[in-house]
Symmetry: C2
Amino acid sequence: MAVRLAEVAEAAGVSQATASRVLNGSNRRPAPEVADKVRAAAERLGYVPNAQAQALVRASARLIGLVVHDIADPYFSSIARGAQRGLAGSGIQLMLASTERAAEAEVEAVRSFMSYRTDAILLAGSRGFGDDVLLERLLQAYRGNGGRVAMIGQPLASAGGVQIDNEGSAAALADELLRLGHRRFAVLSGEPELQTASQRAAGFLATLKSAGVMPEVVSQGAFTREGGYRMMVDLLASGVSGEERKLCVFCVNDVMALGALAALREAGLSVPEDVALAGFDDIPTLADQYPTISTVRLPLEEIGRMSVEMMLGNSDASHRVVVEGAVVLRQSTRLS
Amino acid sequence: MAVRLAEVAEAAGVSQATASRVLNGSNRRPAPEVADKVRAAAERLGYVPNAQAQALVRASARLIGLVVHDIADPYFSSIARGAQRGLAGSGIQLMLASTERAAEAEVEAVRSFMSYRTDAILLAGSRGFGDDVLLERLLQAYRGNGGRVAMIGQPLASAGGVQIDNEGSAAALADELLRLGHRRFAVLSGEPELQTASQRAAGFLATLKSAGVMPEVVSQGAFTREGGYRMMVDLLASGVSGEERKLCVFCVNDVMALGALAALREAGLSVPEDVALAGFDDIPTLADQYPTISTVRLPLEEIGRMSVEMMLGNSDASHRVVVEGAVVLRQSTRLS
DNA sequence: ATTAGCGTGGAAAGCGTATTCCCGCTGACT
DNA sequence: AGTCAGCGGGAATACGCTTTCCACGCTAAT
């Protein structure tokens, strides 16, 4: 269909081998005048190499796969952006899969990436395993065949990746909120099988406990804006907020906090006057919120960039980095 | 490296041809007991087909390419999400390129997608052509080889895609704002070579003109949040807002409006009390803004979905759809 | 009873490229 | 002058798969 290397070679009056050597830069470099002829012919015919054929014969497909839950979620799109940046200029392309939080879709995506022989697979925000033996086995096979796997946010036995200190960072946030003088807390968490959500809730609660503070409410819902909204609606309906002392609500991620905020507004309550609110991630979207929202800053783009760089570099395949979040107190948790 | 079809065939005691027929579902379906043997062997060995090899021999690589300016921008990530949704279950994978608004990167991305023999290329928010003969020629060649091209947002001669009625929608917005009673306007537009920005500004201005209203300011900057911020800072510095009648600022997209809003807040001005503000796109992020922001709603996700469906379906390759935006008036443009 | 027709599995030919040999040549060193 | 390393180009193989094309055994129709 398209122009093949053989046609270029013929047009240039050289062999296919020579044309190949000129156009892809092997370690053997043909004579300058020959090279020019080949390049001219390629240009004239509009030759575009067939990456599939190259991948078949080369070791690498020059492809990297990124699995996210929802590319429209700022958390993931920031990571994706970082990944793209990390890839810039490397000649490696990104394949994207958005699982919509379905475990089967995640497995499907990984299988597909394996099928395309991607050099590496980045799993962002995956639920931990546990029951998901299938995925684990798949990745094991992938790594056995030379593929590299990076978990973003969650550690995976014997795989590299960027790990996030969810517990520690959430604990630090709780510390700061206590220091501000907050004493009444609610924690809105995500699905229990989501390690990210559980760890954040656990870290937060552990610090409260060691300070002798009992949370008023701990609820679990969806790890999404909608989930935050729902849980806040329920929280308000339960009447827990109408007390003398202000309630401080910790949502285990920012989009949930935004959902919760929407519910508060609909109920005619203001932040931070009536209720204090904190999130986690510091997604870019938060920059445009008013009141400004307290959160734990994660260098999301950096995390994406680091992940691909770890995959690209020929460092130890199971290299790991742990990222700490930075507590950022803003208006939404002001006490008075 | 990985398990090959030949090994599966051998393990199952059949020929490679038979194994292939069983595992990928050709139009010839081997006998049930043979098929079971093959499937069992494939399962046991952990066979994953090599998509590169399949692509090489098949007509299609089962790949589709999406080019966006910035995947972290909600406008593009919404489109990407829609595209993913449209692809769901089709077995076709998405390759993503984020150009960071650089024309060379766009060309590079297209060339790369051509190299991977993607079945279609979706160009979202591309600057129109004009000077960009290179890109145009590239796409021409691609289409000549059976590739399909969809422009999202901008029409391309003889290519299909989803077109957005920027001018008409912006004109409708201006109409509504005039009807509300606004008379003093500022238009913050994007780079002049970006057709999307120019068309929106033009549609808006044309309606003002036919109503006999002269805009106070028309400025051009970056088509980004930062651009909106900068232009609003300049606008405020020029002192144009301190008049008896409220100024209504139209930003040609929502992220610019958010940037402008940030600048207003920093200057201690409120929306809509001191200045009215309107954007364009209705990105999901806008749902969490307070005050709520007037805009023109574009069904972004739907646009992404439609685009891939047009590419997938074997309808006329140059089929086009024009999407109208819906004016949504919210708090940010209230007059009193 | 013979043959046309059909269904089923296998051998083999590519798909487009990188790369390994191989071969002829030149230039340098003995 | 003879030999040999080194270099530059070409023929051919391999990458993993799909898909003709074939051969073969069976049923159904004349």
